[in-house]
């Protein structure tokens, strides 16, 4: 493996973000899960300040386009 830069704290937060978007559809659900998550503080406050309809759009994008297939094309 290349010696690539990793930000473990941000990576954990991104995992939680995508997890929340994948299972929530309404702003209330999304915000509730974000508030009770371990997402890093700067990212959490940013997410909580975002427009409701855009949070819902992000959730629908993850639900519609997200793939859990680890062999999904790229690099495999």
């Amino acid at each position: 493996m290349d010696k690539a830069y990793i930000d473990k704290t941000l990576a954990a937060s991104q995992r939680e973000m995508v997890e929340i978007f994948s299972k929530c559809t309404t702003t209330d659900e999304i915000r509730h899960h974000i508030e009770h998550s371990a997402i890093q503080p700067e990212l959490k406050s940013w997410l909580l300040s975002c427009n409701p309809e855009m949070l819902e759009t992000a959730a629908s994008l993850v639900t519609k386009w997200g793939s859990t297939d680890s062999a999904d094309g790229v690099g495999q």
Binding site: M1, D2, A4, Y5, I6, D7, K8, T9, L10, A11, S13, Q14, R15, M17, V18, E19, F21, S22, T25, T26, T27, E42, L43, W46, L47, S49, C50, N51, P52, E53, M54, L55, E56, T57, A58, S60, L61, V62, K64, W65, G66, S67, T68, D69, S70, D72, G73, V74, G75, Q76
Partner: protein
């Protein structure tokens, strides 16, 4: 004058719609999303087109799945990078681009690109990842702006974030005008508000496309989405008029349309959009 071309799609509908344009010699360049062909291979006609434009020095590469702002580094990303190292030697590319945002995290390996805010940590990550790509590509490397922004501030700061990512590696920007249009619609912004501080000197490529409207639970108005499945709106052509004189280093402008959204009754309007694009660039 910048070249005007088409984003190549693997579907036969794309070939049927675009063939008269190719036969007339109207397509000045093509863009190939090379990583979409890695899993299932590329058809003979598409390979031939890519090869022809590569030999003519009119081929650009547009990565889709690298996931620039994913903070983790997995075997999947390592595999992408190794395939990219092979890809850049397979054809002669004018330049390469990838997307702002992240689409891979945890168990999701191909989501839609999601934004992150401009923070010290996210900027460092973006610069590191972009530098990795720039180190592999034997030609200029660029980054495309994202349609999805989660707030007005997010939309307004994106160009600054992009510039800060690419500049240390002498990168450039791919300005997607339909993505800009999405943000103008979704945040009720004027072109001047969103674009007047744009680093246009870094813009080497422009994308033009159509999209769609989608309702959400919270919004009374539907959200504009960058779905590449409709004709180009007049507002996007107006944006092209607006930005062309501001982009001194522009090399190429591409029309994008997903191949599987092109039906026979839409072939004429697709070609009309391409000719409109050529006319605006010629007069710009």
């Amino acid at each position: 004058m910048p070249h005007v071309g088409l984003s190549l799609m693997p579907e036969t509908q794309f070939l049927q719609a675009s063939m008269p344009l190719f036969e007339a010699g109207d397509v000045g360049a093509v863009e190939w999303s090379f990583d979409t062909g890695w899993k299932n291979g590329v058809s003979e006609w598409l390979t031939s087109l890519i090869g022809t434009y590569s030999e003519a020095g009119r081929l650009t590469g547009h990565g889709v799945h690298f996931s620039l702002l994913s903070a983790d580094w997995t075997q999947r990303q390592q595999g992408w990078l190794e395939k990219f190292k092979e890809e850049v030697t397979r054809h002669q590319y004018l330049h390469h681009t990838e997307h702002f945002g992240f689409m891979t995290a945890g168990d999701f390996h191909r989501s839609a690109p999601l934004p992150v805010p401009l923070l010290e940590s996210t900027l460092k990550l973006g610069r590191e990842r972009f530098a990795q790509l720039a180190a592999v590509a034997p030609c200029p490397m660029g980054l495309e702006n994202l349609a999805l922004a989660l707030s007005v501030d997010d939309a307004l700061e994106q160009h600054d974030f992009l510039e800060k990512i690419v500049s240390p590696s002498n990168g450039f920007l791919l300005l997607d005008l339909h993505n800009i249009y999405c943000q103008l619609c979704n945040f009720n912004l004027s072109p001047a508000e969103l674009l007047d501080n744009y680093p246009f000197h870094l813009v080497r490529e422009i994308h033009v496309s159509g999209g769609s409207w989608e309702p959400t639970a919270s919004s009374k108005e539907p959200i504009r989405r960058d779905t590449h499945d409709e004709d180009v709106p007049a507002e996007v052509f107006s944006l092209l008029d607006y930005v062309l004189p501001r982009c001194p280093n522009l090399e190429v402008v591409f029309l994008e349309r997903l191949g599987n959204t092109l039906h026979e009754h839409q072939f004429v309007s697709f070609r009309k959009d391409f000719h409109t694009l050529k006319s605006i660039v010629a007069n710009g």
